[in-house]
Symmetry: C2
Subunit: 125 residues, 2 copies
């Protein structure tokens, strides 16, 4: 189990956030203190409070429109280490201990696809 | 100037994305290859293509509803090093060279606020 937060404290953090019109806040999960970005998904109030109560990442599934404990079916849980809120309260950053792969494809990170770029300096584009 | 992409290639990358109903895709900027997350903002097609054409991060400002070259007023540009797309095409990850502070508060990262957590293991919560 990861680090968690008492209900009252979690309610206060959520109250400082500015969810979008659909009630969601994007949540970025990074792999440990220096790790790469694993995934980006969304939390509503219920998912945030469930995450803070359990010390494990819960998201709001936009496609299934339901609360989603990450790892519930795969066993690939994300245990919370730290939580950060951005300057204007519209995004969350979680440092987690990732069990197995974050991505449903089996990749460690969902961001495994790289777009081809040209070198910028002096390049004739 | 950072790495950039020919217009045709950038159009192809954008065509693989699945923007939300408002036409926006969240874009996470990280500081260099191993750096921390600097910020999360949004791109529409215009901002993505401008970013890829210039090798510098452009976003769609949701509050001002306009194209926004990051650093246009502050000089705190973000030069693109790499671009990654997530597994389901609904988020972008940019590795950038950040000039100065990413945050308008002067903090290097917008995620400078940490929420207090309890240690999880064996904690009575």
């Amino acid at each position: 189990m990861g680090a968690l937060m008492r209900r009252e404290a979690a309610e206060k953090v959520w109250a400082q956030l500015r969810p979008a019109a659909d009630g969601l806040v994007p949540a970025v999960a990074v792999d440990g203190p220096d790790g790469p970005v694993l995934m980006l998904a969304y939390m509503d109030r219920e998912a945030f409070l469930a995450t803070m109560a359990a010390g494990r990442m819960h998201y709001r599934s936009r496609s299934r429109n339901e609360l989603w404990l990450k790892g519930a079916t795969s066993g690939h849980f994300q245990d919370v280490r730290r939580v950060r809120v951005d300057c204007d309260g519209d995004a969350l950053l979680f440092e987690v201990d990732q069990t197995g792969a974050a991505c449903h494809t089996g990749a460690r990170s969902c961001f495994y696809r790289e777009a081809g770029l040209l070198a910028g300096e002096g390049e004739d584009a």
